[in-house]
């Protein structure tokens, strides 16, 4: 039978169509050329009787050990509790054969069974996954593992899916059949298993699992805002573990999206050097907000470790209260003198775009920062590259003072529909720019949470 059809028929995957295709193809690739292939659940293997060839009982299966480095981890060994024994022993999976409901162990290996030590790159399925929390990096959710779905091709056993559904839970309780019957009778509906492909699963049970190379890329698949939601949902210890497993750039992006209280906790757990590496990657205004919330000595320690230029920017922003224009603005915006050409402006934007908090407007200023006008990105793109900015810019700039209240600023945004508003001092020198996003976070913090 076509494996694709089997998967489809059994409703093995609840995810979207795209993903379904990817998974199915992977499973097919693994199963190709292989005749006997069976799906089975960890809960069906745990507790199985193990016997020697004469049929004498040796013990019961207590866990499976897999190789974590595989895309779909291969089961290496079985951990079992010997009859009358207290400590589990391990046996290589390939030495074990199956007979009906029992696992048969060659008699010789009885003496050779090794101590149950877990090697490098190995993972205990029950101990580190079953009933524990995982991140579904495709659906961006924190879930609890109800069961594990394994695929047996010939004799090799691989972990392919994680079961997080109600059906998996009821299977563990021992009421799977009863629940199926109930659903059929009451709703005339067959409840499908809710399985997540292993490649979208990030285990969380130990810091070691998070530090694996393979894992980093998994959490990296998430959008920073989703990652922030997940971090917020975890308990206080796991938060730090997950956060510290991220690379500096991802950590900074996720941190920008995280609740301020949790931001402080996450940064407090780092040493100043680590913290400054991450904060340097954030936008100056976000960094200033965060440092303003930290205890004073901690914030100063981090500022000392930071690159000088960024530290200066942040210190300047720190002076202003968070709720007023001065606290909302960022100092990372593009500006050029009026005699500069459009070509220069576009080059500047192209080079700096990655590091600028704002690229939609270019501010035209003199060397002291007196604001003459503003040119929009659209205007720049449409203009002749040899036009001077003074000819192109709009000199009727709507500005706010450093002390402007957030409500007034919100009114201006609503009235004019700008993406950003510049902040000037008494002598019309530009001090920073408020991007719409920063304002939105202050005026409507509940949105998107």
């Amino acid at each position: 039978m076509d494996p694709l059809a089997t998967i489809k028929e059994k409703g093995l995957c609840k995810l979207g169509r795209e993903c379904y295709k990817i998974i199915s193809l992977e499973v097919v690739r693994m199963a190709v050329n292989a005749t006997p292939q069976v799906f089975l659940f960890l809960s069906q293997i745990l507790g199985k009787k193990m016997v020697d060839p004469e049929g004498r009982r040796i013990g019961r299966v207590s866990d499976l050990i897999v190789n974590i480095a595989d895309l779909y981890p291969l089961v290496r060994s079985v951990l079992f509790l010997p009859v009358g024994g207290e400590k589990p022993s391990r046996l290589p999976w390939e030495k074990i054969s199956e007979a009906g409901d029992q696992l048969v162990v060659p008699s010789l290996s009885r003496e050779r069974q090794t101590e149950a030590a877990i090697g490098e790159g190995e993972l205990l399925l029950k101990d580190s996954l079953l009933d524990k929390q995982i991140v579904d990096t495709h659906g961006a959710k924190v879930l609890r593992v109800n069961d594990l779905h394994l695929l047996k091709v010939n004799h090799s056993l691989r972990l392919v899916h994680v079961d997080v559904g109600l059906r998996g839970l009821m299977r563990r309780v021992g009421l799977e059949k009863a629940m199926d019957k109930f659903f059929k009778w009451f709703f005339d509906y067959h409840l499908a298993d809710y399985l997540i492909p292993w490649r979208y699963v990030q285990p969380l049970s130990s810091p070691a699992l998070l530090r694996l190379k393979i894992s980093q890329t998994r959490l990296g698949q998430l959008h920073p805002a989703e990652l922030a939601d997940i971090i917020e949902e975890l308990d206080i210890h796991k938060r730090s573990e997950v956060f510290q497993s991220l690379d500096v750039e991802t950590a900074a992006e996720a941190l920008e999206e995280t609740d301020p209280k949790i931001q402080v906790r996450l940064i407090e757990n780092l040493n100043p050097a680590q913290a400054s590496d991450i904060i340097e990657e954030m936008s100056p205004s976000e960094a200033a907000d965060l440092l303003g919330d930290l205890p004073k000595d901690k914030a100063e320690g981090i500022l000392k470790e930071m690159e000088k230029e960024m530290a200066e920017d942040v210190k300047e922003l720190l002076v202003h209260p968070e709720e007023k224009a001065g606290g909302l603005m960022t100092s990372s915006f593009p500006s050029l003198p009026p005699q500069a050409m459009v070509k220069e402006a576009l080059d500047l934007l192209r080079q700096q775009a990655e590091n600028l908090d704002l690229i939609y407007y270019l501010y035209v200023t003199d060397e002291e920062g007196h604001l003459f006008g503003v040119a929009s990105l659209r205007g720049l793109l449409m203009a002749n590259p040899q036009t001077p900015l003074s000819a192109l810019m709009d000199s009727r700039v709507v500005t706010v003072s450093l002390e402007e209240e957030k409500e007034e600023i919100a009114d201006l945004f609503a009235k004019y529909g700008f993406k950003a508003i510049p902040v000037v001092d008494e002598t019309n020198r530009i001090k920073g720019v408020i991007p719409f996003k920063s304002l939105l976070e202050v005026v409507a913090p509940q949105l998107g949470k």
Binding site: L130, L169, R172, D235, H237, R265, G292, L318
Partner: protein
């Protein structure tokens, strides 16, 4: 040169910090002194107030002394929960799931759901009873209060909910004021409070058991631990969490003390026979003045509403954590359907039950406490195994003295609960 610049820049930002300072200190205060005190105040719910009033009006001051050992037991048990919360960062149901597996957790959660549903029903009974004193029909008061409680969580943000609850805690003062209005003989009360009296009489024992059952309830352990986790307390803050638990446990029993005392010096001495908290409130009018009645009724209303909001919330949190479902007040209904579904269902069933004509309110309150008592030993045993597991608690496991006290407490509770069930089934 850069050094001096840093100083000048620091100056205004220091002002910024000090402006925030007051709120920060207040925030820290609530962060550290929150969970234990809220839990304890919810503990004095409709069932609690009824039991305390009955104890005072039927047995006078003779049961007052039991509040001393109860306070100690409450501190011992809640301290373990707070410790587990701080050390593991996980809720109790999450720990139980990870340590004991899906099957045990599943049945425990089912039992907890029905136990807490029983408690919720008795909270709405309390709402109905207290507002009837003010002449409001239960057909009006119960649906309105159910909607109020439901919208508080589903529509409101977490912040306002928490503030509402914290303010509500202050209303428990009304019992203490009522106690003073009654002008009791303090010398006699002190003597009775410090002398243990025990009658081997079935009614007396049942009442003693009921007081224990209503003061130490299963849901509290889950709620307290989750709140401690929610507050994000660190191991360094643990001593504050412990203090919070101790203060909270003492507060519950101070309120209980005043209710028992108030009913003893008025209703018991006058020889009036009462059956419910409402009877108690009404009986107070001729004996201690109508303000006592109003304060008593108001206290009962607040206690019932407060507990009616927290019980369903705590139950949904607990169950969702055990099964890994989204559970957060920051999520919308569609994002956390199980969480809000369970929450709404409990309020709907809890309030709906009270609206049946001729529903036996006293029996409901009593039996909900019997179920509480039955479930409690199981949860305490789970807790003791967890708190002594080095893999989970590291160096924060129980010491032998703590274990001795907790085992004794648990054995005593099992014996008491067992005897309560035995007497109630007889």
């Amino acid at each position: 040169m850069p050094e001096t610049r840093l100083e000048t820049i620091r100056q205004p930002s220091a002002a910024k910090i000090s402006r925030k300072g007051f709120w920060k200190i207040l925030g820290v205060y609530f962060a550290l002194f929150g969970p234990g005190i809220i839990t304890s105040n919810v503990d004095n719910d409709a069932g609690g107030i009824t039991t305390y009033s009955l104890a005072g009006s039927e047995f006078g001051l003779t049961l007052l002394w039991t509040l001393i050992p109860i306070t100690l037991a409450l501190i011992v048990i809640q301290e373990m929960c707070a410790r587990m919360g701080v050390v593991t960062g996980k809720g109790l149901s999450g720990l139980i799931r990870e340590r004991f597996g899906a099957k045990a957790t599943f049945y425990l959660m089912i039992a907890l759901f029905f136990t807490n549903l029983g408690n919720t029903i008795s909270e709405f009974a309390g709402v109905a009873a207290s507002l009837e004193i003010f002449g409001v029909s239960k057909y009006l008061s119960v649906p309105l209060s159910a909607f109020f409680v439901w919208s508080l969580v589903v529509k409101g943000s977490y912040k306002s909910v928490e503030k509402a609850f914290l303010v509500a805690c202050l209303f428990y003062l009304s019992y203490i004021i009522s106690g003073f209005i009654a002008r009791p003989d303090w010398g006699m009360i002190t003597t009775e409070f410090l002398t243990p009296t025990l009658y081997f009489d079935a009614n007396f024992l049942t009442m003693a058991v009921a007081i224990v059952g209503t003061t130490i309830a299963p849901w509290m352990q889950f709620y307290l631990q989750s709140s401690v986790v929610d507050k994000g307390l660190k191991v360094e803050d643990y001593q504050f969490a412990r203090l919070d638990v101790i203060v909270g446990s003492v507060i519950v029993n101070i309120v209980a003390f005043f209710i028992v005392m108030l009913c003893a010096v008025t209703i018991f001495q006058a020889g009036v026979k009462i059956e419910t908290a409402k009877d108690a409130a009404l009986a107070l009018a001729p004996l201690a003045g109508k303000y006592s009645t109003w304060l008593f009724a108001f206290g009962l209303l607040n206690a019932s509403l407060f507990a009616a909001s927290i019980l369903p919330l705590s139950t949904s949190y607990t169950i969702c954590e055990a099964f890994g479902w989204e559970s957060s007040l920051n999520r919308k209904f569609a994002e956390a359907p199980q969480f809000y579904g369970l929450y709404s269902l409990m309020i709907f069933l809890g309030a709906g039950f009270i609206l049946f004509p001729d529903v036996p309110l006293i029996a409901i309150m009593f039996y909900s406490q019997v179920i509480n008592g039955t479930l409690l030993p199981f949860i305490l045993i789970f807790m003791l195994i967890l708190v002594n597991d080095r893999k989970i608690m590291g160096n924060y496991t129980n010491g032998w003295i703590m274990n001795l006290i907790s085992y004794l407490t648990i054995i005593l509770l099992i014996v008491l609960s067992g005897s309560m069930i035995f007497t109630s089934l007889r």
